[in-house]
C-alpha cells in the first residue's frame, strides 16, 4: 500500500486524552480506594492512619465487648443474598430474553430496527424512574392491588413492596435489555438455511432450539449474563426503592458506609471485595470464551 493511513503513527497520541482522563479519574481513584480500605476509619468520615486490615477482618468477624473476635455472618449473608439475587436476575432475563431475541432476530429488517429500538429505549432511560414506576404498580394502593381487589381475587391489599420478590422483579425489569441485545447480536447473523436444513432432517421446533439456536446464541448469552449479573450484584436503587432499604444488598451496604455509617475504610473494603467478585465473574466468563460487543 502506497498511502498508509496517517492516523496510524499517532495512535498513542490520539488515544492519549481519553486514556489520561480514565487513568486519572477512574484508575487512580480505585487505587486510592484500595489504600483507604487498609486504613482506619475516622469518626467523621474519611480515614486516618494506622494501616490495618481491620476493615476486611470486620467483614467476617465481629469484635466482642472483651475485644475478642467472633465469627459473624451478617455481612456474608448480605453478600450471599446479593449473589443469589443477581444469579436469579440473570436466569430470569435469560428465560425472557432468549425468546425475545429470537423473535426480534427473525423479523423483517425494518421491523427488526423498530423492535431493537424498542428494546434499547428503556436501557437509556432513567433507572430511578423505571424503578419508581414499579412502586406505582406494586404499593398497597397501587394499580395491581386495585385490579386484584376489583376482580375480587383478594379481600385486602397484598403487600408486594419491600420484599425480595419486588427487588428481583425490579432487577429483571431494568436488566432485560442487557440480555436481549447481545443474544440478538449473536442470532441476527444466523443463516436461516440452517433452520430449514434442520427441519428437513426431521428436527422439531424444540430440537431446533436446543441443537441449533442455543449453540449459536451461547456467546450472546455469555455476554448478556455478564452485563446483567455485574450491575445486579452492585445494585443500589432497586433494593433501596423496592426493598425499602431493609433488604440490603452489597450496593446499599457500601452506600451506607459513606453516608449514615461513616465508615469509609469498611465501605472501601466492601467495594474492593465486590470488585474482586466482578473481576472473578469476568475472568470466568472470558475463560468460557465470551465477550462480544453490545450492538447499539
Amino acid at each position: 500500500m502506497a498511502a498508509q493511513p496517517r492516523f496510524r503513527d499517532r495512535a498513542l497520541l490520539l488515544a492519549g486524552p481519553a486514556l489520561l482522563t480514565i487513568v486519572i479519574f477512574m484508575v487512580l481513584p480505585m487505587a486510592i480506594a484500595l489504600v483507604y480500605s487498609f486504613m482506619t476509619a475516622s469518626p467523621y468520615g474519611g480515614v486516618e492512619k494506622p494501616y490495618t486490615a481491620g476493615a476486611y477482618v470486620r467483614f467476617v468477624y465481629d469484635r466482642d465487648l472483651d475485644d475478642s473476635l467472633v465469627f459473624d455472618t451478617t455481612y456474608l449473608q448480605i453478600f450471599a443474598r446479593s449473589l443469589i439475587l443477581a444469579a436469579l436476575t440473570s436466569l430470569g432475563c435469560l428465560l425472557i430474553g432468549l425468546p425475545m431475541a429470537w423473535y426480534v432476530a427473525t423479523r423483517r429488517p425494518v421491523q427488526r430496527q423498530i423492535l431493537v429500538l424498542l428494546v434499547t429505549i428503556p436501557f437509556w432511560t432513567n433507572l430511578l424512574i423505571r424503578t419508581y414506576c414499579w412502586v406505582l404498580l406494586l404499593r398497597d394502593q397501587g394499580l395491581v392491588n386495585n385490579v386484584l381487589l376489583w376482580l375480587g381475587l383478594t379481600k385486602a391489599p397484598i403487600t408486594f413492596l419491600y420484599s425480595d420478590g419486588a427487588v428481583l422483579l425490579g432487577l429483571i425489569y431494568s436488566s432485560l435489555p442487557f440480555m436481549v441485545l447481545p443474544i440478538y447480536g449473536a442470532l441476527e447473523k444466523m443463516d436461516p438455511r440452517l433452520v430449514e436444513a434442520a427441519y428437513d432432517l426431521y428436527a422439531d421446533r424444540w430440537a431446533i432450539m436446543r441443537k441449533l439456536v442455543w449453540p449459536l446464541a451461547k456467546p450472546g448469552v455469555a455476554a448478556g449474563n455478564l452485563l446483567v449479573f455485574v450491575p445486579a450484584l452492585g445494585a443500589f436503587l432497586q433494593p433501596d426503592i423496592l426493598g425499602g432499604g431493609k433488604k440490603l444488598m452489597i450496593g446499599s451496604l457500601i452506600q451506607q458506609q459513606f453516608t449514615t455509617g461513616r465508615n469509609w475504610a469498611f465501605g472501601a473494603a466492601l467495594s474492593m471485595i465486590l470488585m474482586a467478585f466482578v473481576l472473578g465473574a469476568m475472568m470466568w466468563s472470558a475463560w468460557r470464551r465470551a465477550a462480544i460487543a453490545v450492538p447499539v
Binding site: A3, I22, T125, S271
Partner: protein, 267 residues
Amino acid sequence: MRARVFDWRRMPEYRTISLLAFVFLYAPLIILIVYAFNANRAALIWGGFSTQWFVKAVLNDDLRRSALNSLIVAAIATPVSTLVAIPAALAFERGRFFPGRSTGEALIGMPLVAPEIVTAIATLIFFEAIGLRAGVGNIAIAHIVFCIPFALLPIRARLREMPRDIEDAARDLYADSWAVFSRVTLPLLMPAIVAGATLAFVVSLDDFLITFMVAPAGATTLPVYLYGMLRVGVTPEANAAATILLVISIAAVVLSSVLVRPRTVKA
C-alpha cells in the same frame, strides 16, 4: 414454496413471550405518564386530563435549580467526552498497534464494567483525598469519565464500517493528514459523532448513583432531587417531573438512533 409449509420465522410461544415482554417493558412507563396527566390527586381515580402537575413541577424552585444543574453538567460532560472520544476512536480503529493498546481499550471500557457504586465511592474518595470542592464541577468531572465509553461506541462502530479507500484516495491526491481528517473523515463521521454526543448527554442526564454520592451539598441534579422527592412519597408532582425527564431521554435516544440508522442498515 417451502415457506408455506414450514416458516422458520414462526415460533408461536416465542411470539407470545416477546409481546408480553414488550408490554412488561413499557406498561410501567405508560402508567407513570398517565398518572402524571391525571387531574385527581389520588392516582387511581381518573379526574380528567390535566397539566397542572407539570405546571406545579416547573414552578418548583428547587426542582428548577436541580434541572439547571443537570443541564450544566451535561453541557460540560457531553462535548468534553465526545471530543476526547473522537481521537480515541481513530486511534483504536485506524491506528497502528502501540504497546499497551489492548490495556488502553480495556481501561476506556472500565466505567461500563465496574459496578456503579464502586465507581461512585472511588470518585468520592478521590475528590476528598485531593480536596477538590468545585461544586457542580466535581459532578461534571465524574460524568466526563463514564460518558467517554458511551460517546466512543457509535464513533468506533462507524469507523469500522467506513471504507478506508476514501481516506486513501484523499491521501493519493496529496491531502495532508489534517486535510484528510477535516475534509473526509470528519464529515463522514458526523452522524456517529452526534449520536455519540447524544448518548453521552442522555447518560449524563440520567445518572443517579454516581452523582448522588459525589455531589457536594447544595449541588443537586434532577435525578438526585427526584430521588429525594420519591422517598417522601408518591405525589403527582413527582410523577410529572419524572415524566419530563423520561420524555427527554426517550426523545434523545430516538434522535440518536435515527441519525445512525441510514448507515447501519444491513440487508
